[in-house]
Symmetry: C2
Subunit: 235 residues, 2 copies
């Protein structure tokens, strides 16, 4: 029996943040079948494991807890497994970084695909994406990320903030390599952090498994196709 069951689409995107944390703590988890994910999502609220609009959804088989909403799942795992700094302000900063990451996911997909990318829309958005990168960079700079080995909130071990920043920017720029030069320019410390987290054995192993399962996909669907179209070839 696995420690956890994760309900998420067979894609990285929001689910990958939960997978990255579960991998980091060495937890075992079962991935629910896509039919079960879709079934939960479409079920009456009364019939859902936890009332939710969309995945991810996590079952903790030890505590029998059912949770939804990526930020809430990460807050739960962070508290349970000691991945929050343990200081009121820095804990809140961790939650802020998760909320920022979630906003970037919304914006990169034009709110989960509410609109598709077009050349003019992408051109208009690009400075904002650069600014998101700069906001992460500056957050890390204030807390000690300027050294090559530092973590985002000045902690001695990677925590939720680090895993989230690395999963956001590292995964995005691995799947869309056209964006990596932008990250290197606007958030060099975050790029370095992403590489260091990505090089941890548990993350390397997760990335390999995810690539086998999901290929090059990130958010999937028409919205990913429209994003690839405006980004052009990867060379």
């Amino acid at each position: 029996m696995a420690d956890y069951t994760l309900y998420y689409w067979p894609l990285p995107f929001r689910g990958q943040f939960v997978r990255a944390v579960l991998s980091h703590i060495g937890a075992s988890w079962h991935e629910a079948e896509v039919e079960a994910v879709a079934g939960q999502r479409a079920a009456d609220p009364q019939a859902q494991l936890v009332p939710h609009m969309g995945p991810p959804l996590l079952i903790d088989h030890v505590t029998k807890a059912h949770l939804s909403q990526m930020p809430a799942i990460l807050a739960y795992l962070g508290a349970k497994h000691g991945l929050l700094p343990g200081d009121p302000v820095l804990d809140a900063m961790s939650h802020k970084i998760v909320a920022d990451a979630n906003d970037v996911l919304y914006e990169m997909t034009r709110y989960n695909g509410a609109q598709l990318w077009t050349e003019p829309a992408w051109k208009e958005f690009k400075p904002r994406l650069c600014r998101w990168m700069e906001l992460f960079e500056e957050t890390g700079r204030r807390h000690g990320l300027t050294t090559r080995s530092g973590f985002m909130l000045g902690t001695s071990e990677p925590g939720i903030a680090d895993i989230v920043a690395a999963t956001l920017w590292g995964t995005m720029t691995a799947k869309f390599v056209q964006l990596r030069p932008m990250l290197d320019r606007h958030a060099p410390s975050i790029a370095g952090l992403s590489d260091r987290i990505a090089a941890l054995p548990a993350q390397t192993e997760l990335r390999k498994r995810s690539a086998d399962a999901y290929g090059d996909e990130w958010c999937g669907g028409q919205i990913e196709a429209s994003l690839r179209a405006v980004l052009g070839p990867a060379d």
Copy 2:
């Protein structure tokens, strides 16, 4: 000297969640001038009080903390002022309810005004808004909100989950009274909870002050105008 300074637009919307919690704990706060809010938002990340894409932004003058992102600010205030249940799963459920509320704000404004409301778009969205209400109702039902006096997560005193649910649904249906029958039908317990929280003296006082300052506005701007257009007259 106030306990806190809040940077937010002169509107309810996301800022009202922070104001409602500050009111509930009896904290004093200063509202930054709109020029200061806009100035912070536009500043270089290096010059911002805390690196952020948009308000709300809160300064805690006692701890000298600077925070952004509504969910992170509420997590901070909830932990500091004993407004979280203090149980790992219920704390995470509180964060989930905040994340759900934040998603409803995004959807009611078509991601902060990325698109305006049209008749067809609103018609398509309405069942989803009903479902959001049902998701809140079912969350409360599972935890003990079925009694007239219960709180959303079965706690003996209102916490972040209650204040957030009441601020979301109560404020929305007070500003757009056309939506109140929908709330009464799809989330009767949440409607009752919203009324009970709204009747607390601190919330009554906040609502009066907010109405004096912001009038009937909710999210403001063209997006609010387009929402009022599709909702039709309030009768």
